[in-house]
Amino acid sequence: MNPINKHNTHIVMPFEYHQPATVRAAVEILRKHPGAKPLAGGTDLVPKMKQRLLEPKHVVNLKKIPELSVVEDRGDAVYIGAAVRLREIEKSETIRRRLPLLSSCVRSIGSVQIRNMGTLGGNVCNASPAADGALGLVALEATVHIAGPGGERQVEAKSFFEGPGLTVLGEDELVTGFTVPVPTEDTGTCFISVGRTALDISTISIAVALTMDGDRVKDAKVVLGSVAPTPIRLADAEKQLKGKTLTEKLVEDTAMKVSESIKPITDIRGTAEYRREASRGMAVEAITKAWREGRTQR
């Protein structure tokens, strides 16, 4: 059957709806009903159900669980619940001030409507290599909190993803939130992405965080989206920056390294050659902006 014959303006397959009030109860439902799907904003899950790419028999709404919706400044880190909506993150004064990189990653996702519905947990669990929110979390070395029948476990953001749509999450597990370390005062960050229009999944995106001592790079994080099966940190490029005094030449060399070390594919959003070519200029821009910002913040 032609797959479009399964697409519908309705969700055709019936399911049982659950609305637990605690993480524990949610996990219990997931355990009891293998294949059950957690629902947060619905911006990814619902279209997939309308297209019958997913046909869960049980849907577990996470938005009635208060603990999943908190944003908490914990001093050296900010904790963000998995069901916090993207628009709340964008509007959060705490996140804007303490995690400007994450704030700008989130602002680039979808439209106002999508961000009113979608959650950070959803953006991450969907595990798209193009997820802008995920890029920010990886660059900031966030920790992903996971609840399962055996209790809670924590995973580094960069190890959470295993491929497009694939994560380390077990069927009966749930992401509950993210601990995002607040970069030191002397850290400059930058996120940029390119799409075909202003409302598009990124063809390519980059997030950079540089901790500076004057013009010297103390620490560097360079993360790219849509160039690999998952958001990736480019260790080679980071190594090239760490401990060095930044010059325009070094920025350009590093950007070249970025371009050389990625192995993107061609898809409908852009060609592999494009991504390799664009990554160079984008890396120059992102590194330069992070550099300037890190230097002045000091």
């Binding site: 303006t9 309705h10 619902v46 106002v112």
Partner: protein, 153 residues
């Protein structure tokens, strides 16, 4: 599942299967067809409505998720015979051509002006970017939002 939803100021109770989408509930049960199906995947904004005052997409919202909440659609705007200033502005500025996207745009505009009564042109364009119009090139729409902001101040 039994749900209670306030729709355009009126409390209503429904018994819906959980797979019912808010857009279909409005269109099929209440004949509130102002919210349109344009793409079904959140790309066009034609089904934009306000849920607890915030713009969301009816085509991706489960009706059961609206239990105890407030839904406002284009049909709830204005009072009786009078048009809302946003509706007036859309007409005066020639922001309406085929009109299929118009309800979604007007609802997004309402949310914007409630959030930011005095938006810059750039803010307007960013806020409206989730609503697709294929007729107007957005020029008269942006002008209408500016004009509506003036009327509402």
């Amino acid at each position: 599942m039994k749900i209670d939803v306030t729709i355009n100021g009126r409390e209503r109770s429904f018994d819906v299967p959980p797979n019912t989408l808010l857009l279909n509930l409005l269109r099929e049960r209440l004949d509130l067809t102002g919210s349109k199906y344009g793409c079904g995947i959140g790309e066009c904004g034609a089904c934009t409505l306000l849920l607890d005052g915030e713009p969301v997409l009816g085509c991706m919202t489960l009706a059961v998720d609206c239990d105890g909440r407030t839904v406002e659609t284009i049909e709830g705007l204005g009072d009786g015979d009078g048009l809302h200033p946003i509706q007036e502005a859309y007409l005066e500025e020639g922001a309406v051509q085929c009109g299929f996207c118009t309800p979604g745009f007007i609802m997004t505009t309402k949310a914007l002006l409630e959030e930011e009564p005095n938006p810059s042109e750039a803010e307007i364009r960013e806020y409206l970017k989730g609503n697709v119009c294929r007729c107007t090139g957005y020029v008269n729409i942006v002008a209408a939002v500016q004009s509506a902001a003036g009327k509402m101040r």
